[in-house]
Amino acid sequence: MLQAIALTKYYASIPAVESVTFHLTAGQILGCLGPNGSGKSTTVKMITGLLEPSRGRVLYRGEDIRKDLVGFRKNLGYVPEEPNLYPYLSGREYLEMVGILRGIPQPRLGRKIDSLLTLLSLYPSRHSAIASYSKGMRQRVLLIAALLDDPEVLVLDEPLSGLDVSSALILKNLIRALGEQGKAIFYCSHVLEVVERVCSHVLILRKGTVVASGPTGEIQKRIGHSSLEGTFHHLVEDVNPDKVTRDILEVIRAA
């Protein structure tokens, strides 16, 4: 459904992402992993059409997304990394705005917003300004905004950030259920155990390049680690965590 072909992005002459290729099919949940600065955010921005690649293409149903960005975005739900919302709008006003811009007809939009607000425990504070929302509440608003128009492709960048335990549990179940319904989901996260539990496939980035991709279990088997954490560490980490821990303790103790 969504295909990235040799995606490359240079900032000035510095490569941020180089030749990232993957294929996201319907019903697949692809987890994108990588340490800070590995190019996850740049990849997300390119596949959502927010950033133009220096080289390579993103295809949606075989067509380059840049040919019809508006058409592509009609089928895309996106939860960005930062819950950067308009603080002076209320949660309901914000969702109404998103719905109108997505072209959802009015009576259906209102009903849908109220139902989703109720289900995600935001209904009592629907008329409060977003400025007064906690990080978790903002994150839930973003989730509703992404799911509002029942998109075919979902790009979730750290969607669990700031969510409480029960909301996080609901979201994890929801992602799995959406996958089962045939949605294509690109899931970016630092939390390895969630990716391990939720995603059917993983894409591991390091310094802007893909170091491993494929079904989660298959990669673990190939690397020879039983957990995703061990596999991830084996593939991307240059540092020895035990040694760094010892060094930090030494520096703290130093006069």
Binding site: L50, L51, K74, L76, N84, L85, L101, G103, Q106, A131
Partner: protein, 585 residues
């Protein structure tokens, strides 16, 4: 009634369509500001802003009743009163006022005129074409420009013609006068607004984005100073415009406000060739400014907004590597305790980097620069540098120092990202008595720059003795002013909530205005006289020292509670419940 209801329903349905929604969103962004932190921002209702913008024009018109009232003219024995000739300087004043206020609003909205990162994150991933966002923002800017232009000039457009034409026998005179006045002031406002807008667009287009962000503050301060300077021309310039036929190369021809007054006279049919020439310039300049604003806006939108994510990910250069050397020097000589060292670094970085604080400080300094340049011009105009410094020349560092100290003291009360003040609450002892000392040292470090810049100039023109004597006096007076401004101050700058509205705030404002005249007019006059006689100068120095000591004693003897560190500026209780029934009896 039915028709009204159906119109309202139609409007409601239209307002829920994507384009009007985007326009409303853009208007909200411009009015509420962008990028600023949402919680500590001083969010003034737009209605209040509109009311505040309308006030100057209204009041200025009311004050003119005295000039144009026919009864008062009769009492004064004024016959053959020509209202159009008499209205010329007032017309100029209203033009300058409308330009300054509209330009000021544009400077204030500088950062929010263009769609920002928040817009990008919220809108661009939705199925909305970029061109629609661009158009919606353009419409929002046009709507707000029109609203501001009408609001700023609304009161004066009604009252001023009524006052000028009230005594005239025909209504048509008043109607014609009102029409021309309204047209000219609204066009002047639009010119000023778009001139600022064009400047922002041009800079955005020419400079790399990170550099544009850095110079924005400086440019905004400079524009604010320019607008204030233009406002201050309202007393002298009308006479200079009248003299234009006799002095064709007068620099007045370069003033945009003069072009619009020329345009006004052109429409009234009261012009000579020189005035007609600059009158035509007004229209040409208006068209040029609007064209430049539109073109640069479109190009800057393409260059900056569309590429916003790339700009966000470009690594920033190191800041603060050279400043560490300066800090070390200051630590050694001035800031001796950890409290002062940490507080100084925090305060300097906040004043220089946080937009609201930098803007406010820059605004006060710009005001000082405008007043100081006026003093310099009146001291040097046609005479050259005198052999002995006059009161005008002596007042320059005092003016700059006064405005800067007042500005810094003012911004000390504006919180900077109040959620982050937990670190000070967590680490500092609230009984620490160093807040005043820290604030004093910070303020003096800032004004020391003015003193250091002024000293070589005084040495160059009037020799070492006068430079040192004047420098010492200025230093003592600035120290005295600092002590006065810090009476009762017990905060780490920028870490406390906004102070509550104090009933005596109006008195403070009047005291500041009177203090300005005392500080920058009376002192230089006395000093100019004292400098001529060494004994008088010594006596003057002694009096100054005495005054400083008195204020210093006042501060050190202030009530203990005033010196405890505070993080929440709660209003003082006006009464106290004594609970006499419990144990008092």
């Amino acid at each position: 009634m039915m028709r009204l209801t159906s119109l309202a329903a139609k409007w409601n349905a239209y307002a829920r369509k994507p384009f009007p929604l985007l326009v409303r969103l853009s208007i909200d962004r411009i009015v509420h500001g962008s990028n600023a932190s949402e919680d500590e921002e001083l969010n003034i209702n737009f209605g209040v802003v509109l009311a505040l913008l309308a006030i100057p024009g209204g009041f200025a018109s009311i004050f003119l009743f005295d000039k144009y009232g026919s009864f008062l003219q009769w009492l004064r024995g004024q016959t053959n009163f020509d209202p159009l000739a008499a209205a010329f300087p007032d017309e100029y004043f209203f033009i300058v006022l409308s330009m300054a206020v509209a330009g000021g609003v544009a400077v204030w909205w500088w950062d929010s005129i263009f769609p920002d990162r928040r817009d990008f994150h919220n809108l661009v991933h939705l199925p909305v074409p970029m061109s629609k966002i661009f158009l919606a923002n353009s419409v929002a800017v046009l709507i707000l420009t029109s609203v501001c232009a009408i609001d700023v000039n609304g009161a004066s457009a009604i009252l001023f013609p009524f006052i000028v034409g009230g005594a005239q026998p025909t209504f048509s005179f008043m109607a014609r006068f009102a029409g021309v006045h309204a047209l000219v002031v609204v066009l002047a406002s639009i010119f000023s607004f778009f001139a600022v807008f064009a400047t922002a667009g041009l800079l955005m287009l020419v400079l790399p984005y990170p550099l544009f962000r850095r110079v924005s503050l400086l440019v905004r301060s400079a524009l604010a100073a320019l607008l204030l300077a233009m406002l201050s021309t309202s007393f002298a310039v009308p006479d200079m415009i009248r003299d234009l036929p006799r002095s064709p190369h007068s620099p007045v021809r370069l003033l945009p406000s003069a072009w619009f007054v020329g345009f006004c006279q052109l429409l009234r049919g009261r012009f000579d060739p020189a005035l007609a020439e600059i009158g035509h310039l007004a229209l040409i300049a208006l068209l040029c400014v609007c064209a430049v604003a539109v073109i640069t806006y479109a190009l800057a939108y393409r260059r900056c907004f569309v590429r916003l994510p790339e700009l966000a990910d470009v690594p920033r250069g190191n800041v603060g590597t050279w400043t560490s050397v300066v800090y070390r020097v200051f630590d050694f000589f001035i800031f001796r305790t950890p409290f002062q060292r940490a507080g100084y670094r925090f305060a300097v970085n906040t004043v220089l980097r946080n937009e609201a604080h930098a803007m406010c400080t820059g605004g006060f300094l710009s005001l000082g620069a405008v007043f100081a340049s006026q003093e310099m011009v009146s001291a040097l105009s046609g005479k050259g540098v005198p052999g002995f410094p006059t009161a005008h020349l002596l007042s320059i560092p005092l003016i700059l120092g006064y405005c800067l100290l007042l500005g810094i003291r003012f911004v000390f009360d504006i919180p900077a990202y109040i959620q982050a003040n937990w670190i000070f609450r967590f680490l500092l002892d609230e009984h620490a008595r160093e807040a005043g000392a820290l604030a004093r040292r910070i303020m003096l470090c800032f004004v020391a720059c003015i003193l250091l810049a002024a000293l070589p100039i005084y040495v160059y023109f009037w020799g070492w003795l006068i430079a040192v004597l004047h420098g010492s006096l200025v230093a003592i007076w600035l120290l005295l002013l600092t002590e006065t401004l810090l009476v009762g101050f017990s905060k780490v700058p920028f870490t406390c909530t906004y102070p509550p509205f104090h009933p005596a705030a109006v008195v403070y404002v009047i005291a500041c205005a009177l203090g300005y005249f005392g500080f920058t007019v009376a002192i230089p006059v006395l000093e100019a006289k004292a400098l001529a006689d060494p004994v008088a100068e010594a006596a003057f120095l002694a009096v100054t020292l005495g005054a400083w000591y008195a204020v210093h004693r006042l501060r050190t003897n202030s009530v203990e509670v005033n010196r405890q560190l505070i993080f929440e500026d709660a209003p003082a209780n006006h009464f106290e419940l004594l609970n006499l029934s419990d144990g008092g009896l």
